[in-house]
Symmetry: C2
């Protein structure tokens, strides 16, 4: 497949796609294009999604519950192996398939299962305190859904997704 065709599929320009790929090596054949399987394998290796990665989720409220039942993660090679909440007895409307634990078991489970990444879906007010706990037990990546700035050591990576801001963004660009 040519960079032209791949670029159309990805919604970028062909030169952009080629330039980006070359930062990681040479994967195409001149006059021919790219081997899609080989390319997918390479990207999967690069992202670490070639083998199933265990992930935990902290904060099983509305959003947390939805993220637990969201199929998209496992399709990309992630498995949410455990969920944690400050109140495990709080009423929840769905029979969870993922085991739900008290916060005190965080350290043990992360260590036992070699978990590197955590999904954080707690209210803004407790986000920093839970982030601190995650850092303490050795988590190295946090996907933060709470609308708050997290302060963490340099060695820990935070990726924040703020759903309300995504809507605000859209609201700005459609200028009413």
């Amino acid at each position: 497949m040519s960079s032209e065709a791949l670029a159309v599929a990805a919604g970028v320009k062909p030169t952009q796609l080629r330039k980006d790929l070359t930062y990681f090596g040479q994967f195409g054949t001149r006059g021919l294009g790219y081997d899609v399987d080989q390319l997918a394998q390479m990207i999967s290796d690069l992202l670490g999604t070639n083998r199933l990665q265990p992930v935990i989720l902290v904060g099983v409220g509305n959003l947390g519950t939805a993220l637990l039942s969201y199929r998209g993660f496992e399709q990309e090679g992630f498995e949410i192996i455990a969920a944690f909440d400050a109140d495990v007895r709080r009423p929840r409307d769905k029979a969870l398939t993922v085991p739900l634990y008290e916060m005190e078991h965080l350290g043990r489970i992360i260590q036992d299962r070699g978990v590197k990444m955590a999904i954080l879906s707690v209210p803004a007010i407790s986000a920093q305190s839970v982030a601190n706990q995650l850092v303490d037990v050795g988590i190295s990546g946090i996907l933060n859904f709470s609308p708050s700035m997290l302060t963490v050591p340099e060695s820990v990576v935070v990726n924040s997704v703020n759903l309300a801001i995504e809507l605000e963004n859209l609201s700005y660009f459609i200028q009413q």
Copy 2:
């Protein structure tokens, strides 16, 4: 409040914050800083979040249900006034507070309520077809949660959030 203090709160550099603000005007006082209330008002005007904006949601599955019960949107001035699904009778585990309609009522409700923006949380397979329907009934902004590239007319703005990609992103940066 100084740009220094605001920048710390926002997690950016003070010069960045000042430069960005000046693209929309002059809001600070030299030697003194910014009036926070006035600044918040200005940004709210700019984003169109100064008055409550009606929004609809299409696709009431796992993620859609969660988004409906997510409080973050209304806090920022958005109200999800209606939800739509191809199958309104599909079993759902939560008593929805938002009215749920068949897709055929899309046009009428959008017109009646002056809705400009839609949240799209349908499976990837039906995303483009539903996006087309949204465009047809006059929606001008789509917040897309499905893992697919949407093709829409120039006049329509799409903002895509792919939760799995956000995790992959994190996975890459923590290089295992």
